[in-house]
Symmetry: C2
Subunit: 198 residues, 2 copies
């Protein structure tokens, strides 16, 4: 059908089939988990043949890694754009928290992609597990940095507190009433923000 464009060899950007594959994998892995979906499901839903998958990825694991990379980029850009509109470091934290709450409230929310993934890959040596750790480290450092700029001392403790609230909110967001979860989360973050020293 409409496959006349953008299927060039090495001149243009990424191939169309690859993007369809990665997009489908991202959607299905997030919605249904990783181990419970086979490559057959993904290639069928992406309308791609088996050979095409293995032409772009070395195997399922690389597809999983690419999925987490998509999620990572998405969250980083989401955090970046949330920070842009804020006036002060404290407001940046509020904006990031609001963005998280928006995600929890949005339809199709299935929890944190990274917490879900690490539940399926408990081995710390596994590349998927390490990708999760890397993402979490970045997020903790980002929040802690913001809190330090906002004058919190020690910022480490406050940063861990905010991340703990976020983890809890993301975990419960698809198991409880999302509205209540968001209210509790935002109130908790505001509480951390309002207590400079303990």
């Amino acid at each position: 059908m409409s496959q006349g464009t953008a299927k060039r060899g090495r001149s243009g950007g990424v191939s169309e089939a690859r993007e369809r594959l990665l997009g489908t994998a991202t959607k299905i892995f997030y919605a249904e988990g990783i181990h419970s979906v086979g490559v057959d499901r993904i290639i069928a839903e992406a309308q791609v043949t088996r050979a095409t998958l293995y032409r772009h990825f070395t195997g399922k694991e690389e597809l999983v890694l690419a999925y987490l990379d998509v999620a990572d980029r998405g969250i980083r850009s989401q955090v970046a754009s949330a920070r842009e509109g804020a006036g002060s470091p404290a407001d940046e934290v509020r904006a990031v928290a609001a963005a998280i709450a928006d995600g929890i409230r949005s339809p199709g929310f299935r929890g944190c992609a990274f917490l879900n993934a690490v539940a399926e890959y408990p081995d710390p040596a596994h590349p998927v597990h390490q990708a999760v750790l890397a993402h979490r480290q970045w997020f903790l450092e980002t929040v802690t940095d913001l809190l330090a700029q906002a004058g919190h001392e020690p910022a480490d403790e406050a940063g861990r507190h905010v991340v703990m609230l976020r983890d809890g909110a993301m975990a419960a967001g698809c198991l409880f009433d999302p509205e209540l979860v968001c209210a509790t989360f935002l109130r908790g973050v505001e509480g951390v923000l309002s207590r400079r020293a303990e």
Copy 2:
């Protein structure tokens, strides 16, 4: 070898092979996840034959349900014994939080069995998913009850706050330094306890 005792038909309690099976399944499911381990692994490690598994359970799913039931009973008795030694409702909350922290610090801690399980069973209609919801509902009600007795108004919000901290601590406990996670968690619970009205 020592299988002379306790293998009686219907007179005594549960069979020895069944307990070995359930114990092994509990250990492996918690440590490695559910979808990624097959029944072959479990029957081999439990030193039980294939037929024995299907004599006691209708299938793998029932074994998973039994595993979650073991986890549920364990946590309920852990909470009950923590509450016994406390003098006031607020101290009961502290004791429960301390018990949770002990779990996070203990070797082999792999996060919350229920949060891990629900990550692999996203379908809300699935029995495993519903077992997780039931356990979480009990825990939330228990904590909210305790906080209400301690004089919190509204206790609902405080209960959700404590559960959110617990979820975050359980999720991060096997991804960060458990000592720091516990410190942040206990401080957070103490913070909720110290603020009767917002």
